[in-house]
Symmetry: C2
Subunit: 317 residues, 2 copies
């Protein structure tokens, strides 16, 4: 009665913590039944990662699993939401059980590290793709959106930039050493969930850096109706980036490379120090990189019209 694909779906069963995580009924029925926290808003997002569009088809299976979840969790982080549940749609060309076991290990490890419970999903046949729906919670009125930036505020970014582009360049150059910090940044990005929650009442607007700093800053400016004067020399560069790409390559990667999954926020000047303190408690830097202005557009960068990141393949988001 069961196909190979249904057997494989067993690797994607919820972890044992399900009962304690607001999952009344998990995989094995028509729907998952979840218990939301009273008084909270639900934050939801879905991202599909397609092989050779969003990641190399020959990337390590565990990294594919980690990365597909991380990309979606990054959207919850950008809203200041906690991560609670996820659903996964896995599309596979063949029922390769060893690959799925590694993939599931990477996925489940990040579930555990992020406090998110896999509550359901499906496995189908087709070109390799992973769709992940994430569901988080945020107190009413405290969600961070792209809309709240005001002239005079500080623009800041968590962690370091350019690691996604730098790591992809290494991958494409044939480097496979897992200890390489840039490769690690590209293959297994860390969603900034704790930072997003810590910034809830300090930041006025937020977005995650998935398409590249300039592109995502452009989205935030458009939503808020403001501009930004950027200080490119202040951009925090990913470890090893300048050595790998040279100074100008590193700056370009930091400005326009994608897949960094850092948080880009605006906040009143007086909130910068407390925000830095909160993030430092988790070992994460927050760096001021510019000012919000009332003139639309981004100034301070020579590379006008530098296009946003197009992920792996270069022609579709």
């Amino acid at each position: 009665m069961y196909s190979e694909f249904e057997l494989i779906a067993r690797y994607l069963a919820p972890t044992s913590a399900a009962d304690a995580a607001g999952v009344e009924l998990g995989v094995g029925d028509d729907c998952a039944l979840l218990v939301p926290t009273p008084g909270m808003r639900l934050a939801m997002s879905v991202d599909t990662s397609v092989a050779d569009v969003h990641f190399p088809a020959d990337a390590p299976a565990a990294a594919v699993g980690h990365r597909a979840l991380a990309v979606s969790l990054s959207d919850l982080a950008a809203m200041g939401a906690s991560a609670r549940w996820c659903l996964m749609s896995l599309t596979l060309p063949t029922a390769d059980e060893a690959w799925v076991a590694d993939f599931a290990a990477g996925f489940h490890a990040l579930c555990k590290a992020s406090g998110v419970t896999l509550a359901g999903g499906d496995v189908t046949r087709g070109e390799l793709a992973v769709g992940v729906t994430v569901i988080g919670e945020v107190p009413e009125g405290q969600a961070l959106t792209r809309r709240g930036a005001r002239p005079g505020e500080v623009v800041a970014v968590t962690g370091a930039l350019g690691g996604g582009a730098g790591g992809l360049a290494r991958w494409q150059a044939g480097r496979r050493d897992r200890d390489d910090p840039l490769l690690r940044r590209y293959l297994t990005p860390e969603p900034r969930l704790a930072a997003g929650m810590a910034l809830r009442e300090l930041a006025s607007a937020a977005i995650d850096v998935s398409d590249g700093l300039l592109a995502d800053l452009g989205h935030l400016c458009a939503a808020s109706g403001v501009g930004v004067a950027l200080s490119p020399e202040a951009l925090p560069l990913a470890e090893g980036l300048a050595a790998a790409l040279g100074d100008s390559g590193a700056r370009r990667a930091a400005l326009s490379g994608g897949d960094d999954y850092e948080l880009l926020v605006t906040l009143p000047a007086e909130c910068l120090a407390p925000a830095c303190e909160r993030l430092a408690a988790d070992g994460l830097a927050l760096t001021a990189i510019g000012r919000v202005t009332d003139t639309p557009g981004i100034t301070g960068v020579a590379e006008k019209g530098v296009a946003g990141w197009q992920h792996f393949s270069g022609d579709a988001s």
Copy 2:
């Protein structure tokens, strides 16, 4: 800055009813923000429909949109949940705007008819596939699951069976007349949401018929730890099915064909009449087709070991 795929994503923006439907923030930020109803459980499910696996790649675009949503909504119906929101992941080989416009029209029309609001999603490049996450609500303790069937109860099914298989046979025979009731059943199935809610306090267990009656009845029996004595002569056959497939073909389609998206329920004998009345108010039949027994297995059918439906392509679920 925007790719063709991002432009196309505009067809998938929420309908204007969003504000009134518990959507605090829809498409256009990192996450959708949703307002759940206090005291309700969330019911969630995701289904991915892959071209030439779950539907013919050359099916009308509007039908592809309708069908991808209907398949997921059917899972909410089987839990007795109301439909509230959905997220869509659309993967397209090319940015064909006319196709997407038709696809979106089919999707949005079923959203409207089902009271569900599209709250977000993404569009990516790759083999044609549609992933739909649905989120519904059901009062605590009232969800219908596969687990509650008890010996002595009646087994019943909504509507009529075999229409999915009959319609697919017509499609594969080159029939394209949209007025054909079997083709319509296959291309644009109607999720039984109202029936699922009406059966909440009457049915003891429920599942939707997606893989075929015998296969799905098997799932229900396994989850409940019971068997079923089926009365195959009682199976309600889809309109035109016997004329299209002959008597034995029609019976086989009703038993083992898939994609019917009817609800298969068990209920105490005394609940059958009130259940029929409730569904009749919506113009839907509920037909008793067997009895729950305490002996595992399904009896009453000659076709032992008839395999479950494998959708369009025949080798993966």
